[in-house]
Structures are given as structure tokens and as C-alpha cells.
Symmetry: C2
DNA sequence: GCGACTTTGTCGGGAAGGAGGACAAAGAAC
DNA sequence: GTTCTTTGTCCTCCTTCCCGACAAAGTCGC
């Protein structure tokens, strides 16, 4: 019987001790993470960024190359003087993941490589409220097949975004109100249908949107960021100290159900005066006098009206924008983020909402934090969640290339 | 000219590479942190917790002993079988810090050693509103002198808790509304007055209360925790992934100024309907028909009434407790903490507030998170901030014993 | 009480990884 | 073309931890 690495050694919760071999793994991870997030650089810049010497960088880059994860291509003359440094970059198709987004009115699937390169993708629209769990699994399987064809060998993970409360450990969806799902073992179902020998990570849509915008979009480089996703409901994804903040059970970021008005309208959650009842899609459509049951189509009509200078529509949007600003003020006072990134319909309507939003925010947010916070629309649009799902699925590999690459 | 450790090597923001010597520093830190937080253990348990071997533990413990930070005393027979393991513990007076709390009605100073041992402490009460910045500095200096006498040699830091917005880098107090302070360079002033050759860390009172309760009190071991400090205002300190969450500018946790009622009373911050106008000390005293300007004394009278079964007082407290619960519901929905720890007057009144608070919370918090969150009174009482200040001041030493011990 | 067994501490040898310095290579500036 | 600067490679050395053997110090069963 071969001795496993002594289970009682791993049991403890606190920080672990470091060993020479863990140093190597750490350093490989640092290098790959940097390339993955910041794109190609020279070896010398890698050295400067990590504090490692040229000898070490050379050996580490060599090992990453042997694992098929990075390539060294041309040269760059960079800072004028001296010998040009050779450029090292991730080998995008060297390790790929399948990114999936299950949304209320669409399903999207993409194959994403290292560095966040989208190698192939497809999105299909659906009438709202028609996506069953079984249907979603079938659809994802069908769509993924051809996209994966060329990459099956190098598939290292699957990431799935779902608009609901998810248990990360096994991808169990406790509830997804806007899909009408309850207690769906999505991780297991997808595993059985996809038949891929890799881990399937399921996570909340707003959390992955936050991850996507933080790594690849408008929140890039921020230490602390809040992503506010305006879909049917409002959800938030939090990034703290550069890392996703999930909460004890993974349910952090339910900003839509923060109380903003004790006398407000009843909410689907059973309470009343929740932020999303005042600032959500339904509130916006109702304010504009539009049918509240047809989502994206109605929003598009509203956008057209705004662009054509419809004063009544502008007023309706400003009224909702005020509530959006008040709610963001709450987030700012509580979390003091560097940047607030807006997703979903909040991103689409940002330029129309900005004045009312900013003035409500200025009234609510304490003076000092107000000086630093920026509220910006996301830059990835509907791809934010897919990029987040890809980042989630790639995480193990990027943090520990040797362990993940060997497996 | 001696070469500094090459500044451009440290410039980068990302994760740094590891070297053999950084491994040693990391491991020393892991060991000391574990002893500091969890108290005395056997060498073998240290090994099991950190994943390091006996040989390594022996050498590391030896080095920590040589630095005067840990001691090996008796033995313990622990698990019956086998040779008893010798017990290793921090040497409490081996490294001490000065912990200071500047509050609205008192000033407290303590000398705290490794492991959180309070070696000496003193607190003096003050009439509300009489503490000037100069007065605070003078008083702290006077109080610290005799307390420090026996420990000056081993002083490694100073931590200061202030009820205001503080810039951590240099201890500049932007504003402390309840002290009536604006733009006070407290860090510099204390440095000039105390004349100690160590770093002076100034931080927000609620942030340090959170740190104290997390390391030594009711939040021990929690990965995610919210500390709600009910003083004149309401402030929160957040712990995320076991570490303090400060926000981009260090102003995170201003929960008192989260909007809970658009039609609420005007707040000192210039807005209206903030949580603290409905759930703060003033709201509580007003609801009970007491003078709102005498703080602690009035609160004590109210507590006496409650204990004597005064129905009117109980009703007034329940009314405020409802708002406390609603606000905590917001924090829970947003952050999904494992535990919410109440400090200040919220701790004192917890048993009287509990029913109304819990029922309001249950109505607001989403079902799922509600299953796991606990709302408990702090266990350190007025010492929470001092313990937090001590932890802050000891942090550098605990994380890197060699570097800090050598300095 | 005595031996068997178990766990812990110590010591010496070994391995892994990164640092440092010498040297060659590759361009820019003059 | 020469000089200067920076980069890449190679080799040796140093630090740190691991491993295995052995001694030490208890408990348990008889």
C-alpha cells in the first residue's frame, strides 16, 4: 500500500509550511499567472516583477515550455540599450477550458485558452422561462461538441455561470429563481453528459461576471472591486484584495436584496423594499410604461426610445437611476471599492443613467470614499460571465502548473 | 555604498517569487503565528499543522527560541502512547506592544505581549467631548510611561484605535466626528511624544474591534466575520478570508451610513435615513425617552430599567432592535458572514434586543444564508479594540519574526 | 517489575531549488 | 568599428528541507 502524503499533514486550516518543492510550484505558478493575466513580456521584466534572478527565470520558463504552456517567439528591442530580451507568452491552445453561461434568455458556450483567448464560441437565444435543467444540459452538450473537437486533448476544466445560488464544491444549484430551478445537481448532470475527464466548476453568474471584468475587463488591476450585474434581478460580485469574495456559504453579493426602502414594493424574495424592486429590470420597464415580461426585447425598445430623445423615457430612466445610485452608495460606504463595474442592463443603460446615478451616489456616499470610487460600465458586455467561468476553470492550472499539468 | 535589495525588484504588485531564504522566513512566521493565535502546543502538533517534519520543526523552534520569542517548558503526556512531546509556547514578554484606545468617553492604554497576554493596562474616563488631539497625546504619553517601564527593551510596536477615518500609512486622522477632530496627524504627534523607536499604527476603532474579536474573542476561527460596533455612531469591521478587509482607501465598513429608510431622520453625515440614525445610540436613548447627550451614563440607566422589568423601556429597545436586525440583514445578504459579532452598546443590550433583532433579521435575510449566520455579542467587551490594536502592532513580527526581530 | 510497543527528539547525509559570478551574445550610441 | 549596456547561459555554492537511523521517554500487558 503506497503511502498517501500523510493526511493528517494536510488537515490543518492555517497557513502551511513551505518546502523546496513547494517553492518551485509557487514560482511556476507566479510566472504563469503573470503571463496569463498581463500578456506577453520579456524574461527580464518577469524577473523584475517576481524578484527572481535570470538563471531562475530561464529554468522556470524552460519548464513551463516543456509543459506546453508557454512559448518563446520573437525578440523585442524594448528599452533601447542593451541586448534585446526574448519575448515569452502563454501558449493559448496549450491548455483550454470550456466556459458556459446559462442565462435567462440565452445559453453561451466558449472554448477559452490561456491568456483568456477565446478560441471558439457560440450563443443561442431562448424565450424567457423555457430553459429546464435537462434542456440546459442537453443544449450545452450539443453546442460544446463541435467547439471542443480540436481541443479535447488539452481540455483542463469546465466553468459554468448560473443565475442562482450555487454550492461550489459539487456544483449543486440550490435555487435559480429566474430560471425556475430548485435543487438541481447541475455539476453532476453536466459531468455525466459531457463525459470529460476534468473538473466542472459551477458558480454564480454575478460572481463570475465580477471575476471576468476584474481579470479581463474594466476592473483590471483593482484590488477591491464590486461588479453589479443587472439582469432580471440585481446581483453583485465582490473582489477583495484581488480575490473573489464568496462569503461563508458562497452566497455573498446578494445586493439585490439589500433593504433600501421599508415602504417599498414587495419583492419576489418575500420581503419588501429590496434594492432590485426599485432598481431592477422590472422597475425600469414599469417606469417606462413597458411590458415587464419580455426582458431583452423591451429593454432594446427602451434604448431606441432614449436614443431618439424621448423625454418621458429619459425621465423614467433617471428615476430608476437614482435608486441605482443610492444602492451603489450603500455598497461604497460598506466596501469602499476602488471601482464599481456595471454589468447586464446597467451597463447598457449606463450612459443614460449616469447623471442621476452619480448625483444620488454623491449624496449618499461619505465624502472621503467618494473621492476615489469610479462607477464604470463593464467592458466585456455579455462576455464577462464567460471570461469569469474560464478564469475559474483555469485557476488550478495557473496557480500550480506542474500539479495540474501532470494530472 | 551598500546595495539596498534592489528597489525595482520589489516594485511589482503581483505575487513575488520564493527563494530558499523566503521559505525560512515564511516557516518561522507560520510557526509563530500558530502559537500566537492558538496558544501552547506540542512540537508534533506543530508539525502536523504545518506539514513540516520533526527535524525542521526542531530547527525552527530553536531559532525562534534564540530570538527570544518562544520558550520550551514542561512536557505533556498527551495521547497516551509514546514518548511525551515537549510543549512550546510564545514567550509573552519576549515581544510587547503598546495598545491604545481613544474613545469618546475614555482613553485606555495597555502593554500586550505575544499570545495576546495583557501585561499591564489602564483606562481613564472622560466627559464626552473633552478629548482634544493634544490632550489625547499628552494623556497617552503619561499613562504609557509607567506601564512600559519594565518592557521598554522588548517594545516592537504601537497600535492605536480611533473612532474616525484614518489613513493607515502614516496614521493621519482625516475626521473623527465624535471626537470633533479634523485632519489630525495623530501618528506623527504620538511618535514625537512617545519617542519610541518603533512603528506607530493608527487604525479605525471598528476595524480593530473586528480584529480583536476575530483573533481573541467571539469571532475566533471564522473565515468571514462582521463586527458591528455600536458607539455614538455605528461602524463595522469586516474580516474576509481570515484577514481584515479595509477597502481601497481604508474606509470600508461605514455601515452606519448605509441607507435603510429614504424617509428617515436626517443624519450627521448630511444625508438621511442612515442605519445609525435608526439603530444608533441616539435613536435608542430617544426611543427610551432619555437624554441623548450623556452617552454611557444614560445607557446604564436604561439597562437598569430593563433589568427591573420596565415594559416601556423594553418596547423602546425592541423598536430599535428591529432596525438593528434589518441592518444586519443587509450585511448578511451582501457579505454572507459566518458570524456577526456585536460590540459597544449593541453588545451590552444584546440579550434585550435578541428577539426583535432575530425576527427582523429572519424577515430580511435570504433563506439560505440565514441557515448559517450567527449573531452573537462580543466576548471581549471594551477590550476588543485594545486587543485589535495589539494584533495590528504585532503583525509584522508574527508574520516575519526574523526580519522584525532583527530590526 | 519487566519487556514490547509507540511516539518523539536528534543527528548526519542527501536532494532540490535559487543565488551569484563569469562569460558570451546582441544590439544602440558615438 | 569601438564602447557600452543589457540579456542569456553555465557553473558552482549556499540555504533549506527531507529522510532514515538511532536514542529517549513514556504506556500497556503480563
Amino acid at each position: 500500500m503506497t503511502r498517501e502524503p500523510s493526511p493528517d499533514r494536510v488537515a490543518a486550516s492555517g497557513r502551511q509550511g513551505a518546502t523546496p518543492s513547494s517553492v518551485r510550484r509557487h514560482n511556476l505558478g507566479v510566472l504563469l499567472e503573470r503571463l496569463h493575466l498581463d500578456g506577453p513580456t520579456s524574461r527580464s521584466r518577469l524577473g523584475a516583477a517576481t524578484g527572481l534572478t535570470r538563471s531562475t527565470i530561464a529554468e522556470l520558463v524552460g519548464e513551463l515550455g516543456a509543459l506546453g504552456l508557454v512559448t518563446e517567439t520573437g525578440r523585442v528591442q524594448s528599452s533601447g540599450f542593451g541586448r534585446p530580451s526574448s519575448v515569452v507568452d502563454v501558449d493559448a491552445p496549450g491548455a483550454v477550458v470550456l466556459a458556459v453561461e446559462l442565462a435567462v434568455e440565452s445559453v453561451a458556450v466558449a472554448v477559452v485558452g490561456l491568456g483568456g483567448t477565446v478560441l471558439a464560441s457560440e450563443r443561442v437565444g431562448l424565450p424567457r422561462g423555457t430553459l429546464t435543467a435537462a434542456g440546459a444540459v442537453r443544449r450545452v452538450t450539443t453546442m460544446a461538441g463541435p467547439l471542443l473537437a480540436a481541443h479535447r486533448e488539452r481540455l483542463t476544466g469546465v466553468g459554468v455561470a448560473v443565475p442562482g445560488l450555487v454550492r461550489r464544491s459539487d456544483g449543486f444549484v440550490h435555487v435559480a429563481p429566474n430560471l425556475g430551478w430548485d435543487d438541481v445537481p447541475l455539476g453532476r448532470l453536466l459531468g455525466e453528459a459531457l463525459r470529460v475527464p476534468v473538473r466542472i466548476e459551477v458558480a454564480n453568474e454575478a460572481d463570475l461576471g465580477a471575476l471576468g471584468e476584474h481579470r479581463r475587463g474594466a476592473g483590471r488591476g483593482a484590488e477591491t472591486m464590486v461588479f453589479v450585474s443587472g439582469d432580471v434581478g440585481i446581483g453583485a460580485g465582490l473582489v477583495v484584495d484581488g480575490r473573489p469574495m464568496l462569503g461563508a456559504a458562497g452566497y455573498a453579493g446578494e445586493a439585490g436584496h439589500v433593504l433600501v426602502d421599508p415602504d417599498g414594493r414587495p419583492c419576489t424574495c418575500g420581503s419588501r423594499g429590496c434594492w432590485e424592486t426599485e432598481a431592477g429590470e422590472v422597475a425600469l420597464l414599469r417606469a417606462a410604461g413597458l411590458d415587464t415580461t419580455h426582458g431583452h426585447a423591451a429593454l432594446s425598445r427602451l434604448l431606441v426610445r432614449l436614443d431618439s430623445g424621448d423625454q418621458q423615457a429619459a425621465l423614467a430612466v433617471a428615476g430608476v437611476a437614482r435608486w441605482v445610485g443610492l444602492g451603489i452608495g450603500n455598497l461604497v460606504n460598506l466596501l469602499n471599492p476602488e471601482v464599481v463595474v456595471l454589468g447586464g442592463f446597467l451597463q447598457q443603460f449606463h450612459r443614460h443613467m449616469e447623471p442621476a446615478l452619480e448625483s444620488a451616489l454623491a449624496a449618499r456616499a461619505l465624502t472621503q470614499p467618494r473621492q476615489v470610487v469610479r462607477v464604470v460600465p463593464g467592458s466585456l458586455g455579455p462576455l464577462a460571465q464567460l471570461h469569469g467561468a474560464a478564469e475559474l476553470a483555469l485557476r488550478d492550472l495557473v496557480l500550480d502548473p506542474w500539479a495540474a499539468g501532470a494530472g
